[in-house]
Symmetry: C2
Subunit: 309 residues, 2 copies
């Protein structure tokens, strides 16, 4: 079972080499990350963007881009459409944002002709390896969908279970989080958490174990969880894999608290797309960008194997 | 300026000695904590409860309770009313929960004749000293008020500014938190955060600096905050003192994430009461209980000085 980013990297090396289409690749941190991803054997980049700028940046940073095809396109919107269509057509396996703005990038993801939409909503998962926790944590949604409905939450669980499975977590434990661990009708999120749990017990939500509502200590703190009343009747006792947040505020505030206070590795991708999409932010570290590419690679392999079945 | 719990303890020693009324004091962890608080000179307990059980526990734990008055009352509800009335009548300065259940305890706090209600809503503040952050953080509301309205948030800010001032933070910086740092009308919490900021600028919310909406990195991560667009125009750049959460789910999930992942000291009290009320949970550590008593003592001193003015 995969429990670390090193395990994810080991899985990547067992997969066929994946191709990474980069939209508006003329960006220093992105070029640096994709070059390192290629050097480590994680993915082979295809750069779409302003060739002169790309070559200038590569020269300045001392990056070898000789093995990266370059498709010339100085217009950001056109560069995005050309890059995403490579993935749409199967010429590349995953799609990454360069220097263009997020709105233009997302429009290309959602483009009806050449994009990667599935008809369902997009969401986002951020995978953490945190010092002191001996497994990967899958946080969702901390960045994309503001106020998921109950139906959205079911969809998000299905997306994230697939990502967890791609990382080698075969039967992930899903914690629909709240401030409390009992249903309180004045707190709709607890009612929804109980419904998701019921759907899991009835077999409607598959390939995972859902137990909610769950407070954060019951989800990730085995010592505290064991001392809680009723802990003996729970399916999750401090050992959750997937943390499902009530809304983007709770998710993002926890996400950034971890980034500020913990020692960690992480990587994030969009979910709900036909192929993995990497939308790193400028504040993400070099290693986070590379981890995101590795995460995308194992998810791409997983999606491709699902299709073949 | 106070920045640690050691500073709070130093302030306690400069105050007149405070008396602590304990409701249903026949509880091992509570007796152990109040005895240590007395030993350290933080407060003098008055125990209300089952005398035989209190003496038995004290004997078993080797605790000296010879300097603690005991008011006999085996019924929990009556014990709570007797204990809270000591504070109501000025015979004690602060009120602490013993072994009785939270509902009964809170009913006594809200009792119209002998309780500590001010007419305004109750809230809660949890004060953290976290390794790597060189100041106290005041988190509110992570435990009590589920979905504060805009008016509630104004009230909560006022409460928490008073607690911060009692701890020696004279002009606290208040961060109304959200997933994002710009107003987005589809996210009501960001609109409310902007309104709170405006009320502060207009002088309606006093004695503090409010700047929101703020993401967690802008609130507590100076390095990340400095790299954000528009950081030069913000009043808070990673140096917030008070973290105001959108709702109890966001607050409690962050609170327990800190407890799980950080090295910290903390203490918590109710706010919106005439005198400080300590409602620790059984999962709180021994030190957290003592820190909560110390926090209550400086707040009691602050409230008493306000009254005299």
């Amino acid at each position: 079972m995969s429990t670390t980013f090193d395990d994810i990297l080991a899985r990547v090396n067992q997969c066929s080499k994946k191709k990474l289409a980069v939209a508006a690749a003329e960006d220093e941190p992105v070029l640096e990350a994709v070059a390192e991803a290629q050097r480590r054997g994680i993915a082979d980049p295809i750069l779409v963007g302003d060739e002169a700028k790309i070559r200038e940046i590569a020269l300045g940073l001392g990056i070898d881009i000789s093995k990266m095809p370059i498709i010339k396109e100085t217009d950001h919107e056109q560069a995005a459409l050309k890059a995403v269509s490579l993935v749409h057509n199967g010429e590349a396996d995953m799609y990454m944002k360069g220097i263009l703005d997020s709105k233009t990038f997302l429009r290309s993801v959602l483009n009806k002709e050449v994009g990667l939409r599935t008809g369902k909503a997009l969401s986002h998962v951020c995978v953490f390896e945190i010092e002191g926790i001996k497994r990967l944590l899958f946080l969702t949604d901390v960045a994309f969908m503001p106020y998921p409905s109950l139906a959205d939450k079911e969809t998000i669980i299905n997306y994230t279970v697939d990502v967890a499975k791609a990382c080698g977590v075969l039967m992930p434990k899903v914690a629909p989080l709240a401030a409390v661990e009992v249903v309180n009708e004045k707190m709709p999120v607890t009612v929804e958490a109980a419904q998701l749990t019921k759907w899991n017990e009835e077999g409607r939500i598959k390939d995972c174990i859902v137990d909610g509502p769950l407070s954060m200590d019951l989800a990730i703190d085995p010592t505290a969880a064991q001392h809680k009343a009723g802990a003996d009747k729970r399916k999750i006792v401090g050992d959750a894999d997937i943390l499902l947040f009530p809304d983007i505020h709770a998710g993002n505030l926890v996400y950034k608290t971890i980034v500020r206070l913990a020692t960690f590795k992480n990587g994030c991708i969009l979910t709900g797309t036909k192929a993995p999409v990497i939308l790193t932010s400028r504040s993400d570290s070099f290693e986070t960008k590379i981890n995101s590419i590795a995460l995308a690679a194992v998810v791409a392999e997983h999606l491709q194997q699902q299709k073949m079945q």
